[in-house]
């Protein structure tokens, strides 16, 4: 598609990516200058993000554009391609980056973490490499961009590298990122086939053209699932997420959770729907099962966290699980040739990507503001902040409601679409899947409900009630730039929630090239107000009408209360319960709120509890919730690696004679083999 000036969209896109790189390098000019980074670099990055989102939005639905860069190794140039799928994720990247960058400009504090210029360097390189991941059209460029993304985000995570637990989190992240990268590399190796050796083989265009056998395409899919799953936080490779997200500065957590996890979703979509043509039904079913387990795991763990960023990290795992559920459903439908339903499931996935990027970035930024105002991440030391930080609280409420999946916000729309896709499954021509799907749908519903529970905990413990600590009285609301960033993301949440038909019209431009069909025809043909996937007779949703009714009911209630009960309203302390002597310590705590779930799902946790006895002078209560996977998978793997290393060390005896003997025996054996 040509824009007004006649240049292709991809040219503009490349220009904007280069602009990010230039901004990154500009950080080196004055790495110590705090004002330079916060007043020039980050706002410029935000502007570029906005332009990137606009350009990608224009490119949505256009014919795919390709470009060969004169970079890379001799005979291995970088190929770039801009099609609707990448354009959609670029919109997501640009839109989130605009909000997060402008927030970062206000968030940056002097003498915190690495030098501001260097942090800006890593941050903008991170953004540029994510954009290149989305634009790459060959395995080489993809891997280079993918690894730059992993490395720059690693440095961002460890920007406070003086703390040992942050170094540990960074190491864990890097380790799992590399396991994933190896797996993706092997996947591309299989996809390349053995028809073309060398120059032409590694382009995605070639991979698309090859028809693989069932065995090899399944192997490639499995490797892609492992590789991208590691980046996305799919079970059992999720352990880095709850470590890295709290360790990173809040805007970085927002970027990683909101956008970087989506590049993994992009990758799996690209491989399974674009590069491989004929999905098998059991791929879909296994992705569905993995996604379900991940979603349930994530939400159950997030309910018992008492660190606000860990809570959000587990909630991200849950959302990634839901996305994989949708992908699995789409693959299953596609394998049985039911493209209309596949399009519905895929639309819900893409929609949820956009939603999660908006609300999870927003929530992470909110935790950043709270962290700066109170210097603690622990929910047990917060409370009542809505009076001190109204901006952050109200915008955070938008994010929390969206994350809980309540109408009229955006989270509701995509979860509703996903459940709709489940409800249409009885048409599947496979008995066992038909029996399994209702169970899966119930699990998705359970996850959505528990997500609501988690968000109530998140919002209520931080912002409602009374302050649990003295120093919370001095908490300051966010500054102007931070407010702009938060408002931008909150506005996205609201807009995505209120105009689903318009969004789906755009998402159709993505699903049509991939599946050959979309749902817009059925969903929006009747009325732009009413969203009705498949058939308006079965289910429809009108967010604007819903919002108006809610607003009218609330206004009417308030009017009636004020008009008729005016004299009888009393103002007392929050959550007083009529008890006269009450301190802030007597409020429900984060642990207390999560306790019922901890009881119900007890086998899922690995808990250590220290309960006070009745004779303790200074009673205290401590509960540590651990992840079973550490003990079942990671520690055995670590022990096995250590054992293997010891075996290798057995060779190293420190004796020259023995080393000489190794060469000697090798020589003799080789000579013998040649002779034989």
């Amino acid at each position: 598609m040509t824009t007004l000036t006649g240049a292709l969209s991809i040219d503009w896109m490349l220009l904007l990516v280069c602009a990010w790189i230039v901004i990154a390098l500009a950080g080196l000019v004055a790495p110590k200058s705090f004002r330079y980074a916060s007043r020039v670099l980050y706002p410029a990055g935000a502007l570029v993000g906005l332009l990137l989102a606009l350009t990608a939005f224009i490119a949505l639905g256009g014919t795919p554009e390709t470009m060969v860069l004169p970079l890379g190794l001799p005979d291995l140039p970088f190929h770039l391609r801009l099609d609707s799928l990448s354009a959609l994720f670029l919109v997501l990247l640009g839109g989130s980056a605009a909000g997060i960058s402008i927030f970062s400009a206000g968030y940056l504090r002097q003498a915190e973490g690495a030098l501001p210029g260097l942090q800006s360097l890593q941050y903008h390189l991170f953004l540029a490499s994510m954009a290149l991941v989305l634009l790459a059209d060959d395995a080489y460029a993809f891997m280079v961009a993918w690894e730059s993304m992993a490395l720059s985000s690693f440095f961002l995570v460890t920007s406070d590298h003086r703390l040992p637990e942050i170094r540990r989190a960074g190491y864990l992240y890097l380790l799992i990122a590399h396991i994933g990268a190896i797996s993706i590399l092997l996947c591309f190796g299989i996809l390349q086939g053995n028809g073309h050796v060398g120059v032409a083989g590694y382009t995605f265009a070639n991979m698309r053209s090859i028809d693989h056998s069932v065995f090899w395409s399944s192997a490639a899919f499995g490797l892609a699932l492992l590789g991208f799953g590691a980046k996305a936080g799919l079970l059992p490779l999720h352990v880095w997420l709850p470590e890295a997200h709290p360790a990173a500065p809040s805007p970085v957590s927002a970027m990683m959770s909101g956008v970087m996890l989506k590049t993994a979703i992009y990758g799996i979509l690209r491989v399974s729907f674009d590069l491989l043509h004929h999905p098998l039904w059991w791929w879909g079913v296994s992705v569905l099962a993995l996604g379900l387990v991940t979603a349930l795991f994530g939400v159950i763990y997030s309910a018992v966290q008492s660190d606000m960023k860990r809570l959000l990290a587990y909630s991200s795992i849950e959302n990634i699980g839901l996305l994989f559920v949708g992908i699995g459903l789409a693959l299953t439908f596609q394998s049985f040739g039911m493209t209309g339903l596949a399009a519905l499931a895929l639309t819900s996935v893409l929609y949820h990507c956009l939603n999660h990027a908006a609300f999870k970035s927003l929530l992470f930024l909110v935790t950043g503001s709270v962290l700066h105002a109170t210097h603690t991440r622990s929910l047990g030391k917060l409370g009542g902040l809505i009076h001190r930080m109204p901006w952050v609280a109200w915008l955070g409420l938008v994010g929390a409601l969206a994350s809980a999946g309540l109408p009229p916000f955006n989270g509701f729309v995509s979860e509703w679409l996903l459940l709709q896709a489940f409800l249409f499954t009885p048409g599947l021509p496979h008995g066992y899947i038909n029996m399994m799907v209702p169970v899966a749908a119930a699990a998705v519903a359970l996850t959505a409900a528990l997500a609501g529970y988690v968000m109530v905990k998140f919002f209520a413990v931080i912002f409602l009630g009374r302050p649990r600590e003295e120093n919370l009285a001095h908490a300051q609301d966010a500054g102007t730039l931070e407010r702009i960033g938060l408002s931008w993301l909150a506005a996205l949440c609201v807009a995505l929630g209120l105009f689903p038909v318009y969004v789906i019209e755009k998402l159709d431009l993505v699903t049509r090239p991939l599946l050959g069909t979309g749902i817009y025809g059925a969903a929006g043909a009747h009325n732009w107000l009413f969203l009705a996937p498949i058939d308006p007779g079965r289910a429809s949703y009108a967010p604007v009408v819903f919002l108006l009714s809610i607003a009218v009911i609330v206004a009417a209630t308030m009017f009636i209360v004020h008009r008729f009960w005016r004299g009888r309203t009393r103002i007392t302390g929050a959550w007083d319960c009529g008890f006269p002597v009450q301190t802030a310590r007597m409020q429900d705590t984060a642990e207390g709120f999560g306790q019922p779930l901890r009881q119900v799902f007890e086998p899922f946790y690995r808990m250590q509890r220290e309960l006070p006895s009745s004779f303790d002078k200074q009673p205290f209560y401590r509960v540590v919730v651990d992840d079973h996977f550490w003990y079942w998978l990671y520690l055995p793997a670590a022990r096995a690696a250590e054992f293997g290393a010891k075996m290798v060390a057995f060779l190293q005896r420190g004796r020259i004679s023995i080393y000489l003997m190794y060469s000697f025996i090798t020589l003799v054996v080789l000579l013998f083999l040649i002779r034989g």
């Binding site: 190293q652 005896r653 420190g654 004796r655 020259i656 004679s657 000489l660 003997m661 000697f664 020589l667 003799v668 000579l671 013998f672 002779r675």
Partner: protein, 222 residues
């Protein structure tokens, strides 16, 4: 081997036999001083055999190789080694890791293996010296074995040098010597290696008060 070989070939075979004998002698020798003398004798044999091959085939560059051997392996290296052990004061008996008779038995097996190995190669080679290839290989192997079994640093270096002798002999017997450039390069390598190892000797002794390389085990990381 029958009696109808030309005189040159017979002389070469004789020298090859002496080379092998000297290799075994080095393997069995406990005293460092004698070891150096044996090494010098091996150099002499090598020199003689190269001259004979040169005379028999008319390959003039081999005379230069022979001269190089004479200067380097008969004069310079033994002289350096003598000086070294005088300065380091280590002419005493060396203890071996495996006892001498066992080492000799292993050596015998290696010789048989080498001859067996060399058989098809010498069938391909068109040189008059082809039958000595097995001996050359055996010399390399025996020198290697010596390096493994000795626990002091100086005998190991002599083993290393003897290995180079074996290689040189293999080159002359299989293809009438290597190109001059390669040969010069190897000679220089040997010389430089010797100098560096000489420096190492002093360092090792300074560190451990002994040249016994078993002390180097302490350097291992646990």
């Amino acid at each position: 081997m029958n009696g109808h070989l030309p005189l040159y070939a017979q002389v070469i075979n004789l020298l090859a036999a002496m080379l092998l004998l000297l290799s075994f002698a080095m393997l069995a020798q406990r005293r460092i001083l004698s070891l150096i003398n044996l090494f010098m004798a091996q150099g002499m044999v090598l020199f003689a055999s190269t001259v004979v091959v040169a005379a028999a085939t008319g390959q003039h560059h081999l005379y230069w190789s022979a001269l190089l051997t004479l200067v380097l392996k008969v004069m310079l290296l033994p002289w350096i080694l003598h000086r070294l052990i005088r300065r380091l004061n280590v002419k005493w008996d060396v203890e071996t890791l495996i006892n001498i008779p066992t080492t000799m038995m292993i050596g015998l097996v290696l010789v048989i293996f080498s001859f067996n190995l060399a058989l098809p190669i010498s069938a391909l080679a068109g040189t008059i010296t082809r039958s000595t290839l097995g001996v050359a290989l055996a010399a390399v192997m025996l020198a290697f074995l010596m390096m493994i079994t000795r626990s002091k640093a100086v005998p190991q270096v002599i083993g290393f040098l003897a290995m180079e002798n074996g290689l040189f002999f293999a080159a002359t017997s299989a293809t009438y010597g290597m190109p001059m450039v390669v040969e010069l390069g190897i000679a220089l390598d040997v010389l430089v290696g010797m100098v560096i190892l000489g420096v190492f000797f002093f360092q090792i002794r300074e560190q451990f008060d002994s040249l016994d390389i078993r002390h180097l085990e302490q350097l291992k990381e646990d």
